[in-house]
Amino acid sequence: MLEIRNLHVSIADQEIIKGLNLKVKAGEVHSIMGPNGSGKSTLAQVLAGRASYVVTEGEIIFEGKDLLELAPEERACEGIFMAFQYPVEIPGVANTYLLREALNSIRKYRGLEPLKHVEFARLAKEKMGIMGMADNLLKRSVNEGFSGGEKKKNEIFQMQILEPKLAILDETDSGLDIDALKVVADGVNALRSPERAFVIITHYQRLLDYIVPDFVHVLVDGRILKSGGKELAFELEDRGYGWVEEEARKAVNN
């Protein structure tokens, strides 16, 4: 589904990602872990299409298409969704308005009729239930005055409505209490299917207790230094990231 080859990314002339390779197949859940500043969020932003991140080398192929050629909205229409680490507040734009516009825009791209108001309302109500969100959050302005937890839930709620093929979660678990974390995890697990893939970027192993990944990758200084199964997450939790760096250094020296 997604293949990243030798990706180099700079922001303001500083190289953040320095040759990253990653393959994600449909149905898989990949977790990317790593210390602060290792390039995790940069990877998410590049996948979503943020213009300030400059790809200097490498390529990203999504479902056979050159992702880097696509505008952010085209990527969304192709089936990519990023849950923002810091969801943006948009005063004056109702949550429900944003979602209906987004969903209908994606449907139009795919040659589908726009969803009628009633149909959309029914869909939204169902998904709100899953996320345990209060009805009034729909009418409120996007993320405005939401608590940290509400913002993150809102991201997953949007994901539920838009049903992407590839969902990238950028530290969605950060700052959540355990109850909110479970709701977020349930929201993700409810969408897991053989046709859909997830890239879960996290700082903590905790989330992976609830969303069990197929693969765990360790990102350090812009490169994936180690990949493994879910056990790797526990090892990182116990031992930190230092040993991975050490191992990689030895491998280079040998």
Binding site: G49, P72, E73, A76, P91, Y97, E101, S105
Partner: protein, 452 residues
Amino acid sequence: MGISFSNEDDGYSKGFEEFRKEAPGNGIPWMESLRGEGIRKFTELGFPTPENEDWRFTNVAPIARTTFTIEKNGHKQVSPEALNRFIFPKLRTIRLVFIDGTYSLGLSDLSDVPEGVKVLSLASALDSEEGLVKKYLSKYADFSEEAFTALNTAFMQDGGFVYIPRGTRLREPVHLLYITGKSDRATITNPRNLIVVEDNCEAEVVEHYVSIDEGVYFSNVVTELVVGENSSVGHYMIECESMKAFNVSTLRVEQGRSSNIRSHSVLLGGALVRNNVHPVIAGEGCDSLINGLFMSTGRQHMDNYMKVEHASPHCDSRQFYNGVLDGRSRGVFHGRIIVHKDAQKTDAKQTNRNLLLSDNAQIDTKPQLEIYADDVKCTHGATIGQMDENAIFYLRSRGIDEDTAREILLGAFTSGTLESIQVDEIRNYCEMLVAEWFARRKGGTELDNDPR
């Protein structure tokens, strides 16, 4: 036909000598002396220059150097179809229409004026309601330092006279519609509105300035709005004039005890626009909402001058002004809040947010607090910025294309000030005007006029 004059060789005084002979109220001694004081003051003050702190950001030289004509009996034909564009859909109103400053009986609609309420043209009110007019006219709009108000006082032709007696809930809004027509000369009109709302009343009054031609003309407006105790009044100023027009408007509000006013200004037209809103909160326990939306493009210049005077204790005032500036336009927000010595427990808040859509647009925003009481709460804030790129990216990442994302954000910004308009039909009409503005912008109609 008409009287033409310019600012040279004492032209305004000479023009006045000719004008006064046939001016409304001619033969009424107090009116004649009021007009006389007006022209005397105007001659003494002259047009303000940027050295005057209140006019620092707005140069009225283009007005001062234009030769204007007062149209005489200039009854131009405005077809009912043309009128339709300026009427609020699905809303019954009491309507007074003025064409080139002269009252049009044919286009006005007074069929819904309830008994006891008086809605008529000021010129006729000087005949039939002289006592009432005398009691209120020019008692609030002080012109000792205001050249444009002095000018209006001298040259006032006609306007809306609205008198709402005690205990009246006026169901239908009063719509004062000023249409300026086609002319090959630059015309001047001096509309004067007097709105008196007694105690325990509810009313909505709309001032609406439009043109049916892209000509040069000058509307110099003064409105006095007197609000009695415990009354609630909504006032709307909708400015959609020719992109070559000059408009200087002054709304002077006097608020009685426990009254509440909602003032909404929507400025979209005109080459050079100055909108003065000056409420004096004279009674205790009042609420004042002073809202505005101004949208400029091309070389338009829009100056919003607020002077909110708290003269009594326990009053709240709220000002929310949003500006959208495109092209090479220039905007000014001058928000003065004066809290007099006795106005303890004043709670005043002022917010001015500006969105610059072009690198060449410019805004000067100037909050000014003058507080002479010691137990008050006054806050102000102003922001100037481009559109939030983070928000645009967020919307795009959800599948919404960039143009639509920008439209959504702009719409949210403009609706933010319109949503407090309580009359749905008026709000919808304003939303429609804003939508048309966006559509013109999208269509690439750069309105490049240069009044300077």
